[in-house]
């Protein structure tokens, strides 16, 4: 299925401008359900009613309101809120560049892909090559739909990626959390053993090796239920906390070294619950789309 662009506009940095198209990177495959009335299978719809009267309120009488700290309300018209977006959203303006590895990935929120509109291919490729070569990322602003976003633009393989970014004050700093600390730091020997254990379990990152077992398990469950079978929940079996840290590390190292040798070509995870024959990926994803 060809991807459809979400937005068309212009990238501007310095005096260079070129027209682009924006696409979503994420195509979620989680199984999506809809709400149903269990006793008759009827579809659930949402009805907006007055909270005290219980009477349905027609759309044209509904407004957005903001509650002030004194309990008073400020009523806002849709056009007023729309004007807060700041611009009409035609330009991705890059304000400056920064080293890509200086940005912790926690700042990246949603990823998008950029394509070029006719006439923009050349400048697109020049910027892509220069970002690739320098390892830098463009930081800028851009209005998508109704709100202005802080964005980062980076080279990713053959394409330009755009990430909307979280603002610093949207991240919880560790200083605001109540974190119990140990009275004695881990010993050098414990740290050395833990590092060895990390090394033992270190692998090349191959994202394709991880499959969404849950998606398959949910699809299998749906099919089981469709065939009229009973579905039963299972009990959990959790590991107890480690009583002796050093002994556990030693044992893990012995086990871990053995495991690494044997698992090289195998898939990660036991996959014991992925026994779905019919819940193929194409099947479930097309269902999700046709929801």
């Amino acid at each position: 299925m060809p991807a459809r662009s979400l937005w068309n506009g212009t990238v501007a940095f310095g005096e260079v401008t070129f027209p682009v198209k924006l696409y979503s990177v994420v195509q979620e495959h989680r199984v999506r359900f809809r709400e149903v009335h269990l006793s008759d299978g009827g579809r659930i719809v949402h009805r907006r009613v007055g909270s005290e009267s219980g009477q349905e309120v027609p759309n044209e009488r509904i407004r957005k309101a903001y509650e002030l700290s004194d309990g008073n309300q400020v009523v806002l018209e849709d056009e007023e809120i729309a004007a807060a977006r700041g611009s009409n959203g035609k330009v991705i303006q890059i304000e400056h560049f920064t080293a890509g590895d200086a940005i912790d990935p926690v700042y990246y929120d949603r990823p998008y892909l950029l394509g070029a509109q006719p006439g923009g291919e050349h400048a697109y490729r020049v910027l892509l090559a220069a970002l690739e070569q320098t390892g830098k990322v463009g930081i800028g602003r851009f209005t998508l739909r109704t709100r202005e976003q802080l964005i980062a633009m980076a080279a990713h393989g053959e394409a330009l990626r755009l990430y909307t970014m979280r603002f610093a004050d949207e991240l919880v700093p560790s200083s605001e959390l109540d974190v119990p600390t140990a009275s004695r730091e881990p010993s050098a020997r414990e740290l050395e053993m833990a590092e060895r254990l990390v090394d033992t379990l270190a692998q090349e990152w191959e994202p394709e090796r991880y499959e969404d077992r849950h998606r398959d398990a949910v699809m299998a469950l749906i099919e089981q239920k469709a065939s009229g079978a009973e579905v039963q929940a299972r009990a959990a079996a959790e590991p107890p906390p480690t009583p002796d840290l050093l002994a556990a590390l030693e044992q893990s190292l012995a086990v871990g070294t053995g495991r690494k040798r044997e698992r090289a070509p195998a898939k990660v995870g036991s996959g014991s619950k992925t026994g779905s024959k019919t819940g193929s990926k194409t099947g479930s994803s097309s269902k999700v789309k046709s929801r």
Partner: protein, 265 residues
């Protein structure tokens, strides 16, 4: 002080660390509610059955899935049966380099905190955190949240263990699925143009200072609310009219002009 949203065990080889999970983000958005403009009454949402228009209580609402024209309904308990047995364990399967992970795979960030102040728990927590920090590694594992299983990455960030839910590789669209991504000989750049663009990028480079960016959308909404509070009149904020400009006709000239300006500023 955020509440723990999940309690469980982080398991790493034979070492098990009891942890609680809190969100690493906080909502700073300006939130609105809906009102009936005629009565001033707040709007509530009722769930009603389409068949008879009657309100349906929570316990009578299930999850429906259309499977080949057949409606299959599941209760939350039944759905929980699809989750793995160890629903309160984050089992670390391997360690990988942070830089090797495509940041697009990261979804929501959380912190993991030691769930008790016992010496064993806090030391095991610090040990895992420090071992990952000194080796620059990220732990990959799986966790069950709200009866769904997620792939997660655990690493050291801001002196704590952070855990980020991840999308699966097949949930990410790759560049070759998009026709308008120019490749091959389409718009191929010359070495001179790339060199000029690199100079411009270098001249426009600044330190990344995340706290230095203002959320201007939030600021404008706050300004709007403030001016509406003091005056009942309709408020008109100015909207900048950005023009979709044509591509620069002479790319090299535009790069050179930009470079001069960037060096002047």
């Amino acid at each position: 002080m955020p509440q723990g949203i999940w309690n469980g065990t982080l398991s790493f080889g034979l070492v098990a660390v009891p942890v609680r999970m809190v969100s690493a983000t906080r909502d700073r958005d300006v939130h609105f509610h809906q009102i009936d403009v005629e009565t001033g009454e707040r709007i509530a949402v009722q769930r009603v059955c389409e068949a008879d228009g009657q309100e349906v209580p929570w316990e009578d609402i299930g999850r429906g899935y259309d499977l080949d024209d057949q409606l299959v309904t599941l209760t939350d308990d039944e759905l929980a049966a699809a989750a793995p047995e160890r629903t309160h364990t984050i089992e670390i399967e391997e360690f990988v380099d942070l830089a090797a992970i495509d940041p697009a795979q990261f979804d929501h960030p959380y912190f993991l905190l030691p769930s008790s102040d016992s010496e064993g728990t806090t030391r095991a927590y610090q040990l895992l955190r420090d071992a990952m920090a000194s080796t620059n590694q990220v732990a990959i594992g799986r966790v069950v949240l709200r009866s769904s299983e997620y792939l997660v990455a655990v690493r050291q960030r801001d002196q704590l263990l952070s855990m980020t839910t991840m999308l699966f590789a097949d949930e990410l669209r790759s560049a070759d699925e998009i026709d308008s991504v120019p490749t091959g000989s389409t718009g191929e750049p010359t070495r001179g143009e790339v060199a000029e663009a690199v100079k411009l990028i270098d001249a426009m480079t600044r330190e990344f200072d995340p706290a230095g960016y203002e959320n201007r959308y939030r600021a404008r909404l706050t300004e709007l609310i403030e001016s509406k509070r003091t005056s009942k009149r309709k408020v008109e904020l100015s909207v900048e009219d950005e023009a979709a400009t044509a591509p620069a006709p002479d790319l090299m000239a535009a790069l050179k002009a930009s470079l001069e300006r960037a060096r002047r500023d």
